[in-house]
């Protein structure tokens, strides 16, 4: 789980979180006891559909501002550790 989510955990944290996760999963089991046979699956917590915008390219380029938020940059690129698989 930690590997999939790319979390770097100490053994203590691992133990603590495993316990917490187990309790969450137990609660899921509890929810599973409910008979939902006749209930239609919910797609979203908010009962609204079709929120759409027109197809217009309205954004002005602001590469500088955006790159200033990046941990590292190289020229106008984002720079990341070498990631060839």
């Amino acid at each position: 789980m930690a590997v999939l989510a790319r979390l770097d955990l100490t053994p203590d944290e691992q133990e603590q979180l495993t316990g917490q996760l187990d309790r969450i999963l137990d609660y899921m089991d509890k929810l599973n006891e409910l008979d939902t046979e006749s209930v239609e699956p919910m797609s979203h917590a908010v009962d609204v559909v079709n929120v759409l915008r027109p197809d217009r390219a309205v954004n002005q380029p602001r590469t500088e501002d955006l790159l200033r938020n990046a941990p590292a940059r190289d020229d106008d690129f984002l720079s990341v550790p070498k990631i060839i698989e």
Partner: protein, 480 residues
Amino acid sequence: MSYETVIGLEVHAQILTESKIFCGCSTRFGEAPNRNTCPVCMGFPGVLPVLNRKVVEHTIRTGLATHCAIARRSRWARKNYFYPDLPKGYQISQYELPLCTGGHVDVSGDGAPKRVRLTRIHMEEDAGKNIHDARGDHSLVDLNRAGVPLMEIVSEPDIRSPDEAGDYLRTLRSILEYLEVCDGNMEEGSFRCDANVSLRPEGDDELGVKVEIKNLNSFKAVEKALEYEIRRQGQALSEGEPVAQETRLWDPDAEVTRSMRSKEHAHDYRYFPDPDLLPLEIDEEWVSEIRATLPELAQERRNRFVEAYALPAYDAGILTQRRDVADYFEAAVKAHANPKAIANWLMGDLFRVLKERKLDAALRIEHWPVAAADLARMVQLVDEGTISGKLAKTVFTEMLEAGKGPDAIVKEKGLEQVSDTGALDAAVEEVVATCAAQVEEYRAGKEKVFGFLVGQVMKATRGKANPQMVNEILRSKLQG
């Protein structure tokens, strides 16, 4: 043992829009790095994606043209994986409840007609681009493509050979181009393909172990990669070795596929509904509105061309590959009803010019080098005997270079065909007199010399003589 090949294709087609799928950034190709980006497509915390209406409409359009069922209710999912080309840590895609399901594409090519069923068509965002080899110690990321809208079109494993795969892709691309939902440009990555291929003993119903091939950037690459992979798997199976379920990358230079990652420890994408995006509800009215705007597609049009214009199926096929070419042809035929002659000029001289000037790179040719009405008029001038077929070439070249209409050119250059008996008589007499030796040969039974003599008359009249009349006059003079 002989094996049957089973192929399924996944096509990622860029949906032709001005802005990205969930933000107002431009989708224009070839911009400076990270110019088409904003907090949404860069995955900043706290931003909210808002869906582009055109993405939905174009996907419905495609679904209708490929006979899919359009879902009444459709929703978005997060596909989780870590890779710097998607800074959010997930791709917004569709998993359950895709927009289109079922459907089929009727494939036409050199082989027998064939129906390929579709599993689904769903919408998703594209990822950014990583550049690994520009710098030694780190990779570069350009997020201009991140959030560009895509349709993923998934076929059933109905394809049985590399040729069929190529025909399916060409047919599908033509459909998307006719619908004007995708520009079909493979070089720029707006039409990409992954292939799933497996072999099974002839007659078996069960599918063999499948291998996914990526990096197929041209029709040729698809066909070659499949041929290679069929050979590789066939050899493994006949030697009793198992085929590993994996993803392989096509190397176009070495013309081999290479193992990329094993599917056994494939990513667990942990799909779940995206809480940032609301579901779609598509009512019959919306679908009908879109259905009403569907154009006649290539296949129907080709059949109509054969019927209505008495064209050979081959010509009709070529003329209807592109919607703009078919439109041009019909406009010309409307101006002058000689479909075969117009088809010949279009497929020969005009196609050559389109290629030379790279006008065919665009989805739709806006400015034709010769207007349809002018081409039609030129053919008409030939048909009416005003100019010879040979001089039509001169007129065509002049139309290209000077941009003038055919009538003006014929008048200016004095290209009218000479059909006046008196003038032709004189020209023929002259040739008969000067080429006495050849005339003797002809009279001695050497039929071939006739062509030479006709040529001399044409030369003397600078190509303007009506060749049919020259033939007749010359023959009667030589007999006399």
